[in-house]
């Protein structure tokens, strides 16, 4: 018997577009099956009533410290650009955006 699917191939393609991942047709199907299994597994969280529970986003104690809006690093354009896949002078070079 086939269990009800948690996610369709069309949804997988939509999420892949959001995540900027070009999946092959084989990958799409594999990812769909894996996500299906994980989403079915995480359904167990619905056994818990969390209506009055506050979410935890962060466990640290530091809060959100402020700092002065000052430049602290020395200019180092060459070091920053050394890893760029394509560079022209002090710019990252990319394919043309506007026709």
């Amino acid at each position: 018997m086939m269990a009800e699917s948690k996610i369709t191939l069309e949804q997988v393609r939509h999420v892949a577009r959001l995540a900027r991942l070009r999946l092959s047709p084989d990958e799409e199907e594999r990812v769909r099956a894996d996500m299906d299994e994980m989403l079915a597994y995480v359904d167990k969280l619905n056994e818990l009533d969390t209506k009055d529970v506050a979410p935890t986003a962060q466990v640290g104690e530091a809060g959100t410290p402020m700092r002065d809006d000052e430049v602290t690093n020395a200019p180092a354009a060459d070091a920053m650009l050394a890893n760029s896949p394509s560079r022209e002078r002090n710019y990252f070079k990319v394919p043309k955006i506007i026709e």
Partner: protein
């Protein structure tokens, strides 16, 4: 004949270096020789830094001659390839960063460098720290030094294997859901994940920022205490990093655990656990009682929900963190007709299967219409898990559990079933969700001669207590380390 200085602990080597009985150069050369001999069998390193390490060792010797050198001066360490290291390529075990050479040091790297530590190489890992076996590496899996047919654990498997096989004296890992503790357990070494915010994450390639934490691998609890002291402390470059003073953790190692109240969570001793693992951890608890500690059963009722909550929270954060790998500013670029296609094809070719799987799940959990049902639900259950621990620590000082339900599994055994792989972190993951410190220490061996690990968990910032208890167990001699097969 090799002098095998690489087999020393950090405490031993440090004392000998100070007395000038050995030199940092000799120590480093022994590690490099060992690396050359065993790497074909283990693959614990992605990059070995022969030249840089030799230069660092010479500098350390000059400093040691002045009689004013820190404890880690001249000590060869393995560095997980997730830490930015100036001038040394940092891949995160991914094709997308295969040729990335950082122009800066992570804060912990800068601290170790200023202590005079020697960086012997960058260790192998699961790509972007996503995995429990180091099989998800673009550079091939790391094998377990106790049995090369088995995994080293993950994601910091290279660091664990390198320390176990004496390729270095200690190492750095990172732990998001068990990535220090599980490989430490599988390889029979000490692995410490400190309290969230105890150590700066600046320059550590991010996986899940609210869970990631830096920590040491070592051959002894004392060595872990020595490394932690250098790592820990406030850093203006990581706004989550705690400003609390850093104690001299070695001073906590008194050997005295009289009156220590140990909690044993009943939810951690359930079906699916190998009987030999349970037997070994139960024996360790008896040993603690004989040392004057007390043990009592406690409950962490939401334990069974931790993996599900984790895989929503962690993958959501990962999907955001990994958005930066777009082929524009650094890393791999695959050229295409326009920028969107360039992003999509670069990421498709640069990321491995597990990374794609987690980005997809995380993007889905955050997407319009699903956020409340998945991501928010995960965060709420995270609160319940945190509350479980808070309540438990009203009744005990320390919680002791197995690190993993099994010893090291066979290579390939779990690769085709992601969920089964995720379940290997069932005992470690809730500690990250709650932001607590946890340490894995060897507590015995199974009948296949594979190491078994015991996990010590404490309240936030109780590293001294954890280290004291771990050290006391080590000193009792209840578990003798055995030589590796390699």
């Amino acid at each position: 004949m090799a002098s095998e200085l690489n087999k020393l602990t950090i405490a031993e080597a440090s004392a000998m270096l100070r007395k000038r009985e050995i030199s940092a150069l000799e120590l480093t050369r022994d590690c490099l020789e060992r690396i050359a001999a065993v790497e074909p069998k283990l693959n614990a390193f992605i990059t070995v830094c022969d030249k840089e390490a030799t230069a660092q060792a010479r500098q350390a010797d000059a400093r040691l001659a002045t009689n004013d050198a820190p404890l880690l001066c001249g000590i060869p360490l393995g560095i997980k390839d997730i830490y930015a290291t100036t001038g040394v390529r940092t891949t995160c075990a991914s094709r997308i960063l295969e040729n990335f050479v950082p122009p800066f040091d992570a804060t912990v790297i800068a601290r170790l460098r200023s202590d005079g530590a020697v960086f012997i190489g960058k260790t192998n890992m699961d790509e972007f720290a996503m995995g429990s076996s180091t099989e998800n590496s673009a550079f091939g899996p790391t094998l377990n030094p106790h049995d090369t047919g088995r995994v080293a654990g993950g994601s910091s498997g290279g660091s664990a294997a390198a320390v176990a096989a004496h390729e270095c004296l200690g190492a750095l890992g990172t732990d998001t859901g068990g990535s220090i503790r599980e490989p430490a357990s599988f390889c029979g070494v000490v692995g410490l994940k400190p309290t969230y915010s105890r150590v700066s994450r600046y320059g550590v390639i991010a996986y899940a920022s609210s869970l990631d934490q830096v920590g040491p691998f070592a051959k002894s609890v004392r060595d872990a205490a020595i490394i932690l002291r250098t790592l820990a402390g406030k850093d203006p470059r990581d706004s989550t990093c705690s400003a609390r003073a850093v104690p001299d953790y070695q001073r906590a190692l008194t050997g005295d655990v009289k009156g220590l109240r140990i909690g044993v969570p009943k939810e951690f001793f359930v079906e699916g656990m190998e009987p030999e693992v349970e037997k070994s951890v139960r024996a360790a608890l008896k040993n603690y009682e004989s040392l004057g500690a007390t043990t009592a059963e406690i409950s962490l009722p939401h334990t069974g929900y931790a993996i599900a909550a984790y895989y929503l929270v962690a993958t959501a954060e990962a999907s955001a963190n990994l958005a930066r790998y777009d082929g524009i500013r650094f890393g791999l670029r695959v050229n295409a007709e326009d920028n969107i296609a360039l992003n999509e094809i670069t990421r498709a070719q640069g990321f491995g299967a597990e990374v794609k799987r987690r980005i997809m799940l995380g993007t889905f959990a955050l997407s319009a219409g699903y956020y409340d049902a998945y991501y928010l639900k995960g965060q709420k259950v995270r609160t319940l898990i945190r509350n479980d621990f808070e309540r438990a620590f009203e009744k005990c000082d320390l919680i002791v559990t197995p690190v993993a339900p099994t010893t090291a599994f066979k290579l390939g055994e779990k690769m085709n079933d992601p969920l089964t792989m995720y379940l290997s972190d069932i005992f470690t993951i809730s500690v990250n969700l709650a932001g607590l410190p946890g340490m894995s220490i060897p507590c015995g061996y199974d009948s296949k001669n594979l190491p078994i690990g015991m996990q010590l968990i404490g309240p936030p910032f109780s590293e001294e207590n954890i280290l004291r208890a771990g050290d006391a167990f080590e000193r009792s001699g209840a578990s003798k380390p055995r030589a590796t097969a390699v």
